[in-house]
């Protein structure tokens, strides 16, 4: 190790929330002019650790040193005073204000001079290579531009230790490249940069060193140049995992859902889906790619009868060739037509499940109407709950534990398990692996493939292009509510899909 004094040193940090130990005796350090990746699965305590450095939480025990001096960080203001700034996953910007106004918001400067501020913002941008117009309103910005505002905001406050929480989660591959260029410029400028992530290829690409956390504990620190994806995964998960996703051949694909000229408006009258047409086949996984909020949610909700549509048709084709239109039908009507349609929505606890109910009661959601009489039968759903728990290896203290207490991966298993239990002929999933650890993600991919091999038409809305490219047979790319194109998952690459996400039809590849 070198003998320089680290920019930040955290020693023996412990933090608990109730019974949950988020961090236990974690020690890390970072030098100036270094990019450090903090790698770990969801729930491994990365964000909690960084929240303590940036003054959101107070550690239960342990010390933090900045430039060799012990400090106590009680608020984000304290942290900024020490030059520590964090860019959170969820941006905190005022939509109706411009970039500059957002940046100076809350600062007590001697004189409120927007023009001067705007000049300083421009300086920062040109120094690090940000692409930002200081006078643009936030509501006009893309996600990536909003992120830029957040980063500049922190730099404007003279932070030289930057923490970025999963900065690439919402970016296209092209935008990610740009962000990485900026981070490299910061490193040259002798700043310390910490990025929280669970994407291995990014760790390898950008960082000098990687610290790995698992279940709240510090596992090890590696030089990026001396490691590889497999080694990092094994440390992150605690045992060896295979990193490739299976893609069996489609099984006798036949049209199952046919969407023609579908147009959907939101309650505010905004066009969310614009003249969308495609067919989802049985025995096949249809991936849906697109930057967030391009109409994915509306598309799935329209098919499942939750979203009123303006024009167009959604037809379900029975295995025997008969057709029925699903327009104007609610989920119960669709069920009564004998269409076994399962839907794993994005919002698991707010829509797919009831967080305060236990597994048994959640299994009943779809089936509680069965049987005559006024009383519910909890016996059968209990059996289903046991099966789901055993087959999908749901980790829970018991069947009567409210599902909101389970971890994200287990919540998702409960939801997917229930939806699959009804032997669907169509399975719609939205961001099925969001927030899941590697093991759970692979378990979900396996389930998708099993359903596909059973002849189910699987629609998989995803955000990780690497996964979509490995899992889906065909990929439909949405761009601003329109179909930008449908490509063969075996023949495309992520740059092609990435450019289709931002420009209709892909435009000239950049």
């Amino acid at each position: 190790m070198d003998n320089r004094i680290p920019a930040v040193q955290m020693r023996g940090i412990t933090k608990t929330f109730g019974k949950v130990v988020a961090n236990h005796d974690v020690s890390i350090d970072i030098q100036r002019g270094e990019i450090l990746s903090l790698l770990g699965e969801n729930g491994s305590g990365k964000t909690t650790l960084m929240n303590m450095l940036s003054g959101i939480y107070c550690p239960d025990s342990g010390q933090i040193e900045v430039d060799g001096k012990e400090v106590s960080i009680r608020s984000p203001k304290d942290a900024l005073g020490l030059g520590i700034g964090m860019i959170h996953q969820h941006y905190k910007l005022v939509d109706v204000m411009t970039a500059t106004e957002n940046i100076v918001l809350g600062l007590k400067e001697e004189k409120y001079d927007l023009k001067a501020a705007s000049g300083r913002v421009r300086d920062i941008c040109s120094r690090y290579g940000f692409d930002l117009n200081p006078d643009q309103k936030v509501y006009d910005m893309t996600v990536s531009q909003k992120q830029t505002v957040e980063i500049v905001k922190v730099l404007y406050r003279k932070a030289d230790i930057l923490i970025l929480d999963e900065p690439t989660a919402v970016l296209t591959p092209q935008e990610t490249e740009k962000l990485f260029d900026v981070l490299r410029n910061m490193k040259k400028d002798n700043k310390a940069v910490i990025i929280i992530t669970h994407k291995l290829n990014e760790v390898l690409e950008i960082s000098d060193r990687v610290d790995i956390l698992r279940a709240g504990e510090f596992i090890g620190s590696l030089k990026t140049s001396e490691t590889n994806a497999q080694e990092m995964t094994d440390m992150m998960v605690g045992h060896s995992v295979a990193l490739n996703i299976d893609r069996p051949d489609p099984v006798d694909p036949k049209p199952r859902i046919r969407i023609s000229n579908l147009t959907v408006r939101s309650e505010e009258g905004l066009v969310k889906l614009d003249n969308v047409s495609f067919t989802a086949n049985s025995g096949e996984i249809l991936g849906i790619a697109g930057i967030s909020n391009s109409g994915q949610k509306e598309l799935l909700e329209a098919i499942s009868g939750l979203q009123p549509i303006e024009t167009g048709d959604i037809a379900y084709i029975y295995p025997d060739g008969r057709e029925v239109s699903l327009i104007g039908k609610d989920p119960l009507d669709i069920q009564r037509l004998g269409v076994s349609l399962s839907f794993v929505p994005e919002d698991r606890l707010g829509m797919g499940l009831v967080g305060n109910m236990d597994m048994t009661d959640n299994m009943m959601l779809r089936s509680f109407r069965k049987g005559r009489g006024v009383f519910v039968d909890r016996g059968t759903p209990k059996g289903v709950a046991m099966d789901v728990k055993d087959n999908l290896e749901v980790v829970t203290p018991g069947l009567s534990t409210p599902v909101r207490r389970l971890s994200g991966g287990n919540v998702q298993k409960v939801l997917v398990g229930r939806e699959i239990a009804s032997a669907p002929s169509v399975l719609l999933t939205a961001y099925a692996v969001r927030g899941l650890d590697i093991n759970s993600s692979y378990a979900i991919y396996d389930l998708m493939n099993q359903q596909k091999q059973r002849g189910v038409a699987v629609v998989y809305v995803g955000e990780d292009l690497d996964v979509l490219l490995e899992l889906a047979d065909r990929i439909l790319v949405l761009c601003g509510g329109k179909v930008s194109g449908i490509v063969d998952g075996r023949k495309t690459n992520k740059y092609e899909v990435g450019s289709m996400m931002t420009t209709l039809g892909g435009g000239a590849a950049t």
């Binding site: 106590s72 119960l332 009831v354 109910m357 959601l365 009383f375």
Partner: protein, 363 residues
């Protein structure tokens, strides 16, 4: 750095799941503290001995057999109204119109007794009375539910306003039916003939009310925990989006549940006029439509738990009233005492959810 920087003096930490024992201990402590606070306040204003204050609170309910029966009647009526609130609140439909729904039951019962008394057989009158009271309460509650399901109106404001309308309707009919003329009161309805009076069980005037409350508790417990309707309304309460996602017609559940809520409030009104008070005043509900919300809430909408919470509140308010009388203070003083008790009871929920950790001095 010259000053030694420290962490904050104390911070709030969410508790892991608290055991029932601990929670009960916290609540018991809150009740004790509230009584202490009441004693202190009484002592400060009157100079009376705090121990005698506690004694008086006890005597308010248990000094005589009659008082005990009055307490039981109070508990029963409060419990019935609270049971009515439970399904609506579990559905997160903020029905604070219990007062008005009870008053409509009161009005329906009184009008049957006054208009039909002596004109039809008494058995038939009682049946009509029961149906009318239940229907009046149910309709009164279903109106806000209908508007909410149709136009998404705010049920809190709507049910609150309906209280005033109901109270004014009662006031209007009191003037029309006043007896004796010019008194501005109705007096005991059918005092000599007892037309429309609900039958008394043995020599116990209040027993019928107590039995109805007991039966309703069991029925509501089963309805909320074992029936399909109960399951549906719980899902709607937890998340309307989940309910829509599985095809529950949310608006229909709103109206259905509020019909039930209102019907039970109607029964409370029926019992008050038909079985115990035999008269109609604008203050007959006496704020219990609101107290019931708290009773239901403190019991987490569990009908069995509400037996205890309604008992507790009825007992304490009787005691507070007794303190005010015994020590020569006016009614407002007993309101102050009840408020102190309620403040502690609600406030202690914070300590059930969270605990406060003080900084440990560095070694």
């Amino acid at each position: 750095m010259n000053e030694k920087r420290r962490g904050p003096l104390a911070h709030i930490v969410k508790r892991p799941d608290i055991s029932l024992k601990q929670a009960t201990a916290v609540r018991a402590a809150a009740i004790l503290l509230s009584i202490l606070a009441c004693a202190l306040v009484t002592f400060m204003f009157t100079g009376d001995d705090p121990v005698s204050v506690f004694k008086t609170i006890w005597e308010g309910s248990f000094a005589s057999e009659r008082r005990l029966w009055v307490l039981l009647q109070n508990v029963s009526i409060l419990l019935i109204i609270s049971l009515a609130m439970a399904p609506a609140f579990r559905m997160r439909f903020w029905n604070i119109g219990g007062e008005g729904q009870v008053m409509m039951g009161v009005l329906a019962t009184s009008s049957c007794m006054i208009m039909l008394g002596g004109k039809i057989p008494n058995v038939l009158l009682i049946i009509i009375e029961i149906v009318a009271a239940i229907a009046a309460g149910a309709v009164w509650a279903a109106i806000p539910a209908f508007f909410k399901s149709r136009w998404n109106t705010n049920e809190t404001l709507f049910t609150l306003m309906m209280n005033y309308v109901a109270t004014q309707l009662v006031a209007y009919f009191i003037i029309i039916w006043e007896s004796p003329r010019g008194s501005g009161k109705i007096g005991i309805i059918n005092q000599s003939t007892q037309y429309g009076w609900l039958p008394q069980i043995g020599e116990y005037k209040y027993l019928l009310t107590v039995l109805v409350a007991a039966a309703l508790t069991v029925i509501l417990y089963i309805y909320m925990n074992k029936s399909k309707h109960g399951y549906e309304l719980a899902v709607v309460g937890e998340s309307e989006r989940t309910a829509r996602y599985i095809g529950i017609k949310v608006g229909r559940v709103f109206i259905r549940t509020m019909l039930l809520s209102g019907a039970i409030c109607g029964i409370a009104g029926l019992l008050m006029v038909g079985s115990t008070d035999h008269t109609m005043t604008t203050t007959l509900a006496g704020g219990r439509g609101f107290t019931a919300v708290m009773v239901a809430w403190m019991a987490k909408f569990n009908p069995l738990g509400m037996i205890f919470t309604s008992f507790l509140l009825a007992f304490l308010s009787k005691g507070a009233g007794e303190v005010a009388t015994q020590f020569g203070l006016n009614q407002s003083f007993s309101d102050i005492l009840s408020s102190i008790i309620i403040f502690f009871l609600i406030g202690c929920e914070f300590f059930i959810q969270y605990r406060i950790v003080f900084r440990k001095e560095a070694k």
